[in-house]
């Protein structure tokens, strides 16, 4: 079945069965690399994308449920020329080792910061507590999120 999706501000079409999890459609049919398969069970956060501004686990979201919604992936958040403050902060703080969790960390944090622009360290930990990282990059990730929130706030204040 052909399904229309709005991804990263473009209308895209995929020919898949409607119960296909969004993750596979984004990766395999639309050629995106940001969201990752980590568990397929909604437990790790590697597959995170934004659906209408909310962080959503694409591995357990059937594609038919988001037809008509605005989907944003890591690629859509920013790129080398227009890096999102979180992306820049992850580079500045070298906030990863293997980087397999990075998509989920940045996408979760981006949605979180838009709700809570000036979080405490404890709030950042809380917001990311359902995202797993096996390399132990947590402390750098916390620092990067904090730095990004400060940057965003400085920009906002100008």
């Amino acid at each position: 079945m052909r399904i229309k999706l709005k991804v990263n501000e473009e209308v895209r079409e995929a020919d898949v069965s409607p119960d296909t999890p969004l993750l596979y459609v984004l990766r395999d049919d639309l050629g995106l690399f940001g969201p990752k398969f980590g568990c397929g069970l909604g437990q790790c956060g590697a597959c995170m994308v934004h659906v209408d501004g909310r962080a959503v686990r694409s591995c357990i979201t059937p594609v038919e449920a988001v037809a008509g919604s605005a989907i944003v992936t890591l690629e859509g958040l920013g790129g080398p020329e227009n890096a999102h403050p979180l992306q820049q902060a992850f580079i500045d703080h070298q906030a990863l080792q293997c980087g397999y969790c990075t998509n989920g960390m940045i996408m979760t944090a981006a949605a979180f910061l838009s709700e809570n622009p000036d979080p405490s360290e404890g709030e950042i930990r809380g917001a990311l507590s359902a995202n797993l990282c096996r390399c132990g990059s947590h402390t750098r990730i916390i620092r990067a999120v904090k730095a990004a929130s400060q940057k965003q706030n400085e920009r906002g204040a100008k």
């Binding site: 398969f37 590697a46 080398p80 507590s129």
Partner: protein, 744 residues
């Protein structure tokens, strides 16, 4: 397509500006080093052109047999090459593990990559520079030591010639050996500095970065269906129902190996689920083990050997003796991504993309399993999620190859499901460590008797294809090679089992069990994790017995000045000895990895909730001496990660199993540390600055695993006065110990 990093023209130093290179070679050439054995992997692969190539277009290609596992090795090796060649780092293109292109450097493991590949590249590049300079001198009619190099441009006064002009076919077709000495450390521009890793931007921007991101024309998707237990045998399948499912191309069966290939990924997943439902297996009954782990382990037969023994004769009269048993369960690598591989077979040539730790050993195993010639197989490394040792990578590579043979020449991308990884990865071995010791009246260590018992810590493919799961399941199976008992000096089960402390009498035994209930393999630091946990816990127990502060007690028995220095540094940075509030505690752990690598001491600060029994690790303060460090930020990142990972292993990780294997299925059955539980981590690196010149690299990746475990156990004791010796240190065990203490 290529996953190779396309360098920008700028390499960024963390917290500093952009580097420029311009300096004189005067006085540098041509010091000759004595060629008694070539450094690092040059010994095995001496050909210069195996390591680097100057491209007429203005680039330098550097080849390494090591692979990127998230540790930043490709960046560190590029730093080394750029320094020795006097070129901008952005010119360096790194080619990592590829059986068609790179030297064979075995596996990427043991915190050895800088020592092996880094030193090979350093000496090869220094030699290459010497060759280029000699050519330039002739071309420019000048003496070599009057020349100056700026980013590959060789100057004699105002006249210049570039490497790219000098380079020609065959220039490096010779063995390293007449070689130039590498630069002294203070003339290096990149090595020793926190250069940003080159592979990070693609990951934060969601660009193609991982094996999982490789897309080949006509690529199909594969999934496998493993037996319901390790002894189960495939009896029959009703293929027709599955073949009729949408997208399904092939069902692949070879003995008890079962898989499916489909056009779409989700179609492959659905078909595999259905296939699991219709497959009938014999011999699939599973029963729970009748024994708990320590008893199971102690009851199994073992090969015993003495690994260290000392008796100074003149024995001190031992005043006080104690003994203790420390245990560790099976633990999982639990990589964030389940293993994956891509394979393509054109009827003659097999190409496999794998996130394995060694492309050459994997190729050998694939050849054996598939009854092919190694020349007809190419294995190319591509990065995936961190592995921390041998996860399912190699197994997945064989799975993918078996599927690809049935795919009519089309590439097949295989990805394990979460449960495949949790049930079938080669786990870290369970261990039992018994120690008894004695201290004299004046607090001297008089006796140390230790016995460590456990399973193999190495089931790598290079030992034989029978180490791969599918090779055991095929219709024409391959028997596993004998369990590897890694010899000293590094050891496996007994890694770091010999204490670094002086004792008048000492005996350390290893009891190696060849066969156990689970397939076990290399998990970061191997036996060192539990051995150091045991030794360092026991040191605290002895210190308490002697009535001496744990740090002072260690220093009293440690002769190695570098070891003493990291202990003192970590203790002072953690305010050792300053008072703490009730329920809070501090503990230290120390080791020199493998007794011959890097040094690390760490102080953990914990808060213990007496009601729930939960240990919360608040802070970890570490000092490490890794010898020469190529990239301090990368090193710090590795050690920070090791500390967090060890905290997770130590507080909560344990593989449940029964007679059919592991009974894990997902992250709920194998929880790991999450953000709300992660300590703040502070890592201090020793011997930075000018003094680093004289130190050899000692490795960093695995230093923290054992010391951190012991630091937590010791901090628990400091906080609430209970000693736990059975890993992991769960809230239930803390509660039970507190209760016992209250009653006692």
């Amino acid at each position: 397509m290529s996953l190779a990093y396309k360098p920008s023209r700028r390499e960024v130093v963390i917290g500093a500006g952009v580097l420029t290179i311009a300096f004189s070679l005067a006085g540098l050439l041509p010091p000759v080093v004595a060629q008694t054995g070539l450094p690092g992997s040059l010994g095995k692969t001496p050909a210069l052109d195996a390591w680097l190539r100057i491209d007429a277009g203005g680039g330098v290609t550097v080849f390494t047999g090591k692979v990127e596992l998230g540790q930043g090795i490709a960046t560190a090796l590029a730093q080394i090459a750029a320094d020795e060649l006097d070129v901008d780092m952005a010119r360096i293109d790194m080619i990592t593990g590829d059986t068609a292109l790179t030297p064979d450097e075995g596996y990427t493991f043991g915190s050895l990559s800088i020592q092996q590949s880094g030193m090979a590249i350093r000496f090869a590049a220094a030699h290459a520079r010497q060759i280029l300079i000699a050519r330039a001198a002739r071309r420019l009619g000048a003496t070599p030591d009057s020349l100056r190099v700026e980013d590959g441009l060789v100057f004699a006064g105002k006249e210049s010639v570039s490497y790219w002009q000098l380079a020609e076919e065959g220039l490096f077709e010779r063995d390293a050996g007449g070689g130039a000495a590498p630069k002294p450390a203070d003339e290096r521009r990149y090595a020793g500095r926190p250069i940003q890793r080159r592979d990070i931007p693609s990951r934060v921007f969601g660009q193609q970065s991982f094996l999982q991101d490789i897309r080949l024309p006509g690529m199909l998707h594969g999934r496998i269906v493993r037996p319901p237990g390790s002894g189960a045998v495939l009896a029959a399948i009703d293929e027709d129902r599955i073949s009729a499912m949408p997208g399904v191309k092939n069902i692949v069966r070879d003995g008890s190996f079962l898989g499916v290939i489909a056009r779409g990924e989700f179609q492959a997943i659905q078909a595999a689920e259905a296939l699991a439902g219709v497959a009938r297996w014999s011999n699939q009954a599973r029963s729970s083990s009748s024994q708990e782990l320590p008893e199971l382990l102690t009851s199994l037969p073992a090969r015993s050997s003495v690994i260290a023994e000392k008796d100074r004769g003149a024995r001190l009269v031992a005043a006080k003796k104690i003994s203790a048993r420390y245990t560790r369960p099976f633990q999982a690598h639990a990589s964030l991504a389940p293993s994956a591989a891509i394979a393509q077979f054109d009827g003659n040539q097999l190409t496999v993309w794998s996130h394995c730790q060694g492309v050459f050993p994997l190729r050998k195993a694939l050849a054996q399993a598939l009854r092919m010639d190694t020349e007809n197989i190419r294995v190319i490394h591509a990065p995936a999620a961190g592995c921390y040792g041998q996860n399912g990578a190699d197994d997945a590579a064989l799975d993918a190859a078996l599927l690809a043979r049935a795919a009519g020449g089309r590439p097949v991308r295989l990805q394990w499901m979460r449960g495949d990884e949790f049930r079938w990865e080669p786990f870290g071995s369970a261990m039992v460590i018994d120690i008894s010791g004695a201290v004299t009246g004046d607090g001297r260590l008089a006796d140390w008797q230790c016995a460590v018992k456990g399973f193999t810590h190495s089931s790598r493919p290079g030992d034989g294809a029978g180490n791969l799961i599918a090779a055991r399941h095929m219709a024409n199976p391959i028997t596993p090679p004998p369990a590897r008992n890694i010899p000293r000096p590094t050891g496996g089960l007994d890694r770091n089992a010999v204490p670094p402390y002086q004792s008048d009498r000492l005996k350390v035994m290893k009891h190696f069990i060849a066969e156990g209930p689970l397939r076990t393999g290399a998990l970061r630091s191997l036996g060192s994790y539990a051995n150091v946990f045991a030794i360092e816990s026991f040191m605290d127990e002895l210190a308490a017995l002697a009535g001496i502060d744990p740090v002072a007690f260690r220093l009293k028995h440690l002769g190695d000045t570098r070891g003493r220095a990291v202990i003192e540094e970590a203790a002072s940075r953690a305010d050792w000895g300053s008072p703490m509030t009730a329920g809070h505690g501090r503990g230290i752990g120390y080791s020199r990895y493998k007794n011959l690598g890097g040094y690390l001491a760490v102080v953990a600060q914990v808060a213990v909730d007496a009601d729930s029994g939960e240990i919360r690790v608040m802070r970890a303060v570490a000092a490490a001496d890794c010898g020469e460090i190529i990239n301090p930020d990368g090193t710090r990142n590795q050690i920070e990660g090791g500390i967090v990972q060890s905290t997770s292993w130590t507080l909560m990780e344990e593989v449940s199993f029964d007679s059919g294997g592991a009974t894990l299925s997902d992250w709920l059955s194998y929880p790991i540390l999450t953000f709300d539980q992660v300590p703040l981590v502070d890592v201090h690196l020793m011997c930075q600055g000018p003094k680093r010149t004289t130190k050899k690299p000692l490795g960093a990746g695995e230093l923290a695993q054992g010391p951190m475990a012991a630091a937590i156990g010791n901090a628990l004791y400091d906080a609430v006065g209970v000693r736990l010796r059975d890993l992991p240190l769960t809230p239930e065990k803390v509660r039970a110990a507190l209760q016992e203490k209250g009653e006692g």
